[in-house]
């Protein structure tokens, strides 16, 4: 093998050239042996200037027809959400499928589902940052945005599932004139308020701090004075000075350290909503780790879904490469196996505890009237991700996309199984019942996706979807520093891909 004169990264023009294995530089080692270097995180021999252009161009040009179509669809589902909520608030909780004995239904399922999805972003940006996983740079911005939007979606549900949602603010403990009416700190629902609001707030700050240099880039590239002024204000007058960078890096590190425990605390506390009850199927100590793992699992699946779109429709293949996708596939498989392990442990514990109630609930989960929900959950979450034992599968974006969708279907059903099957047949056989989603349940579920995608589409339209400054930091300077040609620098018109 020949010695590379220039950086070997310059030759990787397409992510299909990536193998997922290190590049071996024969005889390049310090003692004459082979040198293994990781494959580049950015392909296409990109120059720094091109990075700016590639990423900023989506915010700078009139959106494509595909964006408009996607936005129109998302917006109409958002409209459905608004209409459904008006109906819900006017008519009452009765339009949803909840009943006695299943007092919680799709709203709580959706809440746990969305808050779970909201876990991946912070995990990627904070935990992987602390562990110096450089591949996170390609995906962290979008993943964090996803987190925020998912938390926004999740935040709706605990409020709208209340019988009298207009009194939801009573949950906030502040000195008031209602008695004063204080919250019950024994109740895990009160803990939720703190957990979710803290998580949402820290994620927002973390995301925004990361955005500052890139907003400044957008500002610098802006030609219209209003646009310049807006991005200037949003970037807090970032000037790229050494001092600014030093403060920025410290703040980012501190926020990462703050956000990391939240990744674990939020879903732990959400799991307490169930675990502190007396209901068989809920009252179990495995719930906190089980929920956290499930959340990471579903969050990564959602990241994969979104990244597939971004690679395909936004031409981000050079920044979100197959190597990124493969790394996420590995995490998906690992967490999938952990989730499967949790499912099995629950069965073991139900048997080992000797509790009649517990034993029945689990038998009923798997073989009772909701066996299909359990089957969907188990297949999608524990079996389907096993395809990632094969590297070809991990690098096949179609497989990845399908699996990521299936995992999220499975994770929605996991919450369905936990909420519905535990409640529908509890202690007294006389009060057993069934639960089914109504039109309004479906409308609100779809509407929450409408909200999520509306926000996400606005995000890709107005903000840099990849962390420009961070990506630049992981590029090979030998390749990226050279001046781009005139043709490279001229922004091409957005193409329909």
């Amino acid at each position: 093998m020949t010695r590379h004169e220039a950086s070997p990264y310059a030759t990787v023009m397409d992510d299909r050239q990536l193998t997922g294995r290190p590049i071996v530089l024969a005889g390049a080692g310090p003692y004459g042996g082979d040198l293994e270097i990781p494959e580049p995180l950015v392909t296409g021999g990109k120059k720094w200037a091109e990075v700016d252009r590639d990423i900023c161009m989506h915010a700078e040009q009139f959106p494509t027809r595909k964006w408009w179509i996607a936005f129109a669809v998302a917006l109409s589902f958002l409209g459905l959400l608004v209409f459904s909520l008006i109906t819900l608030f006017y008519v009452g909780m009765g339009i949803a499928g909840v009943n006695q004995p299943v007092g919680w239904g799709s709203f709580i399922i959706n809440f746990v589902f969305w808050i779970g999805i909201g876990h991946a972003g912070t995990l990627i940006s904070a935990v992987l940052y602390l562990f110096r996983q450089q591949w996170r740079t390609g995906i962290n911005r979008a993943a964090e945005a996803m987190t925020l939007f998912a938390v926004a979606c999740a935040g709706i549900f605990p409020i709208i599932h209340l019988g009298r949602a207009w009194f939801a603010y009573w949950l906030v403990p502040y000195p008031n004139a209602r008695g004063p009416l204080w919250v019950n700190f024994n109740s895990p629902l009160a803990w939720d308020i703190f957990a979710i609001s803290t998580y949402g707030l820290v994620s927002l700050v973390f995301w925004y701090v990361g955005l500052l240099p890139d907003l400044a880039t957008l500002r610098d590239r802006a030609t219209h004075p209003w646009r310049k002024a807006l991005y200037n204000a949003m970037s807090f007058g970032w000037n790229g000075s050494n001092r600014a960078w030093r403060h920025y890096e410290s703040a980012y590190l501190i926020l990462a350290a703050l956000a990391t425990p939240l990744v674990f605390s939020v879903h732990t506390i959400v799991s307490f909503d169930f675990a502190t009850s007396v209901m068989p199927g809920w009252h179990t100590t495995i719930f906190p780790p089980y929920f956290v793992i499930g959340a990471i699992f579903s969050g990564f699946a959602m990241v994969i879904t979104l990244m597939t779109f971004m690679r395909g429709y936004f031409g981000m293949k050079h920044y979100i490469t197959l190597n990124h996708m493969e790394a996420m596939a590995k995490i998906l498989m690992l967490t999938g196996m952990l989730v499967g392990f949790a499912y099995s442990t629950e069965f073991f514990m139900a048997w080992y505890s000797g509790s009649e109630w517990e034993g029945f609930i689990f038998k009923n989960r798997a073989f009772g009237p909701y066996w299909w929900a359990y089957a969907i959950m188990f297949t999608c979450n524990a079996i389907v991700p096993q395809v990632f034992w094969w590297k070809t599968m991990r690098r096949n974006t179609w497989i990845l996309f399908v699996v990521s969708i299936l995992v999220n279907v499975g994770m929605w059903f996991e919450r369905y199984v936990i909420v519905v099957t535990s409640l529908h047949r509890d202690f007294l056989p006389s009060s057993w019942g069934m639960y089914a989603l109504t039109f309004w349940d479906y409308a609100i579920l779809l509407g929450s996706f409408g909200l999520f995608f509306t926000l996400f589409l606005l995000f890709v339209r107005f903000l840099p979807v990849v962390a420009i400054s961070e990506v630049k930091g992981v590029m090979d300077p030998k390749v990226a520093r050279s001046t781009p040609t005139r043709a490279d620098a001229a922004a091409p018109a957005l193409q329909e891909v």
Partner: protein, 1078 residues
Amino acid sequence: MNPNETSARPDEPGLDRREFLRVSGTLAAAGALASAGCQPPPEATVPFHDMPESLVDGMGRARFFHTVIDGSPVLVRTREGRPILVVPSPNDASGRGLSVRHHAALMDLYDPDRAHGPMSVRRGQGAPVASSWSAISAEVVSRLKAAGPKAVLLVGPASSPSLAAVFRGLSERTGLRHVVWSPLESDAAGLAWKQAFGDARVARPRLDKADLILGFGAEFLDRPDDGFERAFSERRSPDQPEGRRMSRFVQLEGRLTLTGANADRRIRVRDSHLAAVAAALAHELVVVRGLGPLAADVEVGRALAPFAIDAVANGTGVDATLLKGLAGELAAGQGRALVVAGGSAGASASGPALELVAVMLNVTIGAFAAGLFDEAAASEAFSGGGAALSTLVAEMTAGQVEMLLVAGVNPVYDAPASLKFAEALAKVPFVVSLNDRLDETSLLADVLAPVSHPFECWGDVSLPNGLEAIQQPVIQPLFDTRGLLDVLVDWGTAAGDTAALAAVTAAAAAATTVPVPATAAPVPSPSVAYHYLRAAWAARFGMEPASPAFDAAWNEVLRSGAWRAPAAHAAMAVQGLAPAGAAAGATSATTAGATAGTTSAAAPRRVDPAQLARFTVPPPTTEGLELQLYPHLALWDGRAGNNGWLHEFPDPITRISWGGALSIAPRRFDEMQLANGDLVEVDAGHATLVAPAYRHAGMHDNQVALPLGLGRASCGAIGAGVGPNAFPLRRLHTDGRLLSAGLPVTIRKVGGSEPLAFAQGSDVIDRDRRPLVPATTLTAYEQDRKAGTEQQKGGPSAWPEHDYPAARWAMAIDLSRCTGCGKCVIACQAENNIPVVGHRGILDGREMSWIRIDRYYDAPRKDGRWDAEVWDGPLEVVEEPQTLFEPMLCQHCENAPCESVCPFVATMHSADGLNQQIYNRCTGTRYCANNCPFKVRRFNFFEYSTAQESAFFRWLVPRIARNAELNTRAPMQMKNNPEVTVRSRGVMEKCSFCIQRIRAATSEATREGRTKDHFPDGAVVPACMEACPAGAITFGDVNAPGSRVAALAAHPRAMRLLDALGVKPSVSYLTKVRHDKA
């Protein structure tokens, strides 16, 4: 700062802040009013026009009035002039009971679909138009005079002496005839007793005295107004006083009835075989064993000859050894055993034979001689309804009836199809309906003269045990209606009846001298019926009507609720509605000097053996399928078809609400591959009916059953079209009786299904895995008094114990006494303003009842047989079900799981042991309901208390329109108890242990300066306990020394559910003890 301290500073000069706000607020309000067209906002309240001064001292307190409804004495609780609760009359000596429909009578009173005034209906030709009483009366009277004996009054059975007198007066003056039609009464018992004793009065079995009760289709618990519950339940507790043992009850029946569900041993025999099986027992006792006075009689022997046990066992498929065992039990129980027959099976072709053989058995085992029949409470069984109606129909068809007055009956709805009543009605030139609404019959009438609800008008009634009672109104008529007695007195006057005339004169005189109600004196009633009654009762008392002595006596009857006729006047009471007979159940006492609650002083009945031998029973075959039509436990004959409470009341056995279904035996059901709700066509030859199928546990394989009283076509918005109408399937027997059992039918699946609204999840309980209902057998109980209460014990609690410094409220429910009748459910609904959710609401699992009666079929595993499928009711469990009833309500747990999970502290534990729900704080997370192991919390999924007016949303979500129809149409809200908050949507609610009554008792103790620390028994009686005829519910202060509830809570039979969870309920369940199966 003390939050109660106000910041008003009146000594400050000028306009202070509060004053400013007050003035500006008033101005703003005035402005708003002015802009709204100077109209005050519409109000939906029902205020007093003139507050009677007498109510001032009664502020905040309920007033109670004795009155009578359907021949049952009741006590009506009123607040601010509105009846709000119907409870059994305390210390009532008549022996009558209340059924759920009496408890629910308030909904009939406040039914918005009643006719609001007289109407000209014009036989459905065009819409009915409003008319007036004067116009109708003028027309009716002139036609009455013209028609003479060609005018017929068709009435229901009534036992009112005054009504009977008015009927007599009218018929004497005008020739008006009257015909009595009662759709549900079976004539069998009356016929049999008349044949046996020459006296059609049927004596009342004394269930409290019998050690062994053998029922042949007996339905004494299914006919709750007969009032057998107390006597039966008293002997069903295993803890009997010295010298008495828990009674044993064996029931033979085809359909699992409420009565049969309470049996120790239940043997499935189809209705048409009951007579043969009874005869087989008689054969064994009389012929084989030679017992009793009939043993020597040759004719009896000859009559019983074909009924040797083995032959009958072959013909019916009933186990011969079982029958021999029963015969042995009867033989051993001579003088202590009782045979009760009848029920729905009495209305089969062999019904009179069954009743006759039952008499024979009772004679043989000496039940009459031992005083096991109460002659004082003997009642003349109604007879001849079917025959009388068919004669009338023939006359109508032949044009011999010029004018028909229909009062309180609805034959277009409930006459057998073969009679073609509607066609005959079309041939009558003038038809007047005196029903309360535009029902099926009224719609085909010329005019509707709507009668008042019994709570709105005067009347009187004869009760068993020689009692007479006055039906006094408890509210002014809500609409332009009049009492039946008022109407008939009015018409009688016009016809020249002197008694009626006198009453009208007296009423007119009273009306002119009405004083201005400036004092607390009661306002004289303008009701003519009132004056008619007073005159009649004055004659009865032998007093002058205007005398103060009579006023005192009259008031005393009103105050105490009933009057016992001295022997001299007893004869008066018998003048019922001859020749048709007095009403079933409600009746005439004749035995002079009889006192209630004691055995009759009359000599034991003399029986003619020759007559007893005259019965025919067709030889039993195992072929074919037969239909039983039984009255719906709540809706009865369907007259209360627009009562939402009754529709929502789940049948105690089938647990179906809002409709009914064809009950099919589990084996046949499975063979036909049906699912509950699948539509099945019943072909009875002369009529067919399509009804949803139901897998009825304990049903005989060759029998199916349908409830009557459903399927009203026209009764109002609430009940119209609910369920199938099975009345047309009935058949007229050759002897004129109406047959509603033993009807040969075929059934077939027709495709399609109709969802059945079940108020219960699984039917079956495996008590070995889920020890949630304490139950055991008598032998086990006698060995170990704690038998049946075994459950996993809870560990130590991490929660600090509650401190109960004074009273602690608790309840004990004796499952051995509870018959599962469900009156507590309706009483609770009325007391606590519980809304009706409708068929859809039940289907969706949104029932609101605070107390429910869980009905389980007992399937203890013991040998590890069951798997998950036990919940689907395997044949071996449901073919011979052991039924358990368990009233379930909030358990007011000491460590309530609902309390810790509510983030708003909307539910909390009180210092006197109540788990309180604070509606104002509740925002409806429903976590408490999820975390309640007993699933007794109820959520307001919709706004039930006020109508949601938006036309758009009513269109979008039609259920809210239906909810409004069921709950919020005026004057329905008047039923609401002002002491209980009406809940809005989005809040959780549940049993409060009737906290309003607890707090009222506390206030009263405070007012009277008594201790509030402890309360004696009876100081607080929740609505469920008040309604329970069986005495199964005991409530009280468990900390009060010597309280009954404390004794019961400490009883070895007491079990607090789910101890392993550590929730520590305040409700104790006492073991259901059964006799061993053998």
